[in-house]
Amino acid sequence: MREDEFFAGIAKRLGRSSALTTAPARDVVGAPDFWQSYALPEEERLEKFCVELEKLGGSAVVYDSKASLLQGLSGFLETLQPRTVGMWSGAFTAEFDVDRVLAGREVVYWGTDGANSVARMAQVDVGITGCDFAIADTGTVVLMSDIHKGRSVSLLPSVHVVLIKSSQIRTRMGEVWAEVLQQHGGHLPSSIHFISGPSRSSDIENDLSIGVHGPATVYALIWQE
């Protein structure tokens, strides 16, 4: 069907001679006031994030320095013994110095294999990413894709390790949107993923199963700055 006919049809049904072209006035936008003013202090935000993520079957551990976080990560990999580790590339690696604890392991850096990147990431056991924001209310991490921050790293491996700085944690989703729009205007990244715990399904006789398509383990390491 032609676009102009489609819109003319809608306008006519709504009792207009042609489609509206100016923004209609709105008296209510977004969440109720009591929710918009809901903001936890930093310490509580951190705690709430951990509690909510654990409820979903994820794990969250808080470290008081970058060095101890790296030690934690190293210990985690030591226990898991993955054959390969996949990781975001670019600024993230430098910021957390992750390379220091990956010596001796086979590491796949996102985007360095060109057209083969996805196929390689599909063979990886553990994917390590950072995040752009985290949300205390729902135990959520927010990942925005770009050339260094591939979607596949948090999706294809069975284990997703996410490194978080406590300053990235917000109380509720609305705060994240306000900041994202401020940073990007209308030009959002090609995808933004809000991830809350491991992949799950109740489709077989209502029995909860974990790790259906996405990662079965979500492990958050938080650096309390």
């Binding site: 676009e3 509206l20 057209a115 979607r151 995808s191 489709d203 996405g214």
Partner: protein
Amino acid sequence: MSTEKDAIQVTTIVDRSRLALQDDFLRGAVRFTTERLRGRKAASSEELGNWEAWRERGRQIRSHTIAHLDYYLRQFVDNVQAHGGHVYFAANAEEAAQTIVKIVEKKQAKLAVKSKSMVSEEIHINKHLQERGIEVVETDLGEYIIQLAGEMPSHIIIPAIHKTRSQIKDLFTAAGATNLTTDTKDLTAFARRALRDKFLRADVGMTGCNFAIAESGSVVLFTNEGNGRMVSTLPKTHIVTMGMERILPTFADLEVMANLLPRSATGQKLTTYMSVITGPRRAEEADGPDELHIVILDNGRSSQLGDDEFQEVLHCIRCGACLNVCPVYRHIGGHAYGSVYPGPIGAVLTPLLNQGEAYQDLPYASSLCGACYEACPVKIPLHDMLVALRRRNVEQGRTKWAERMAFQGYRMVFAKAGRYKRVMRLARKAQKPLLRQGYVESTMGPLMGWTESRHAPALAKSSFRERFQSMQQAWRRGEDGGDQV
């Protein structure tokens, strides 16, 4: 409405319910799940607090958006195109299916993977693609099971609600699994392996759209398994099919829906994944689709705009809460509705989207108790709409012949006292062969609809008038009024 959908509708809701009621497992499963979902919804909405304030906000946002759909849809379309996405408009199911077939054929695709989407059921896209030799694989675990079984979903959130684990094991074994047990972990692991291979090989990924954000041209998907992310990340071409009413003006509004939808659907605070997709991948990115195509479907929706009684049906966010609380759905399950959308929302939406005779009996599959309205996160008055649809059926003379005759007879008999008396005397005689211990029992004949599953009380041997007369005579004679039933 397409004729092929007419063909599916060969039985009435009564026939289909009778079938469903015979399936004990189905009834048990439906009750179990719906109760569980309902319980979790109650817990999670209580935890949120101010549920009524949230519902009202949800209603206001949907109401404003639909009342200005021309503006917001335009804004959405412009923004999609600005990000390099392609947009198509389809007046009906057939047009939408043809549009998608054309895109898929142009890509010379052999394999398409899909995440769960009710709209794609509405346009029967799988059938269209398969007819052209294109393999279509449903990747939501429940939908995958249903597809292997060759059935339709029976719940909009939990499509395979009616399948037992041993049935699932058999289906998976037929699909190539070996040494499978009925353990959930085992079954899930097989599906993960089988589908992972499909994701990586697929040429086209197809999704629905929970919300389309006007201010940015983004498509928002709520999923739990991660298949929605796979389908929108791995194949080179991503095709989105959306109803024209899926629009939300801003991300601030999305926060409200993100609080309402998962709680109402599964009792979760938020689904595991909420993915916000804006255009195809950017030039240097190594994953994400090269092309994003968005097909916007009308298929009877625009006819509800400007209709005082039914415009609100477009506010629906497809959460399934009204199914979970509906006493009729809980008894007969989703298949009995014989339509893509079951439950109270299906009983309203289906006859509205499909003008003509088929499905016009669905509005009767309700006890009008109003539980659906109470459960609806955007306060759609479904029970009022059901009554309005029934009224419309009567106005259009669409009631059954026997029902019309019965009501005409009723009017004739009750209009004159003498006529009424004579008819009742006749009826008392006529009921005699059907009487069993003071009740009318009959599994055939004109009274069947009432008496087949329960007994009708018999007409008294004499009427109140006759008894009153004899009581008066007795009083005059100074006797006690006898109880002479």
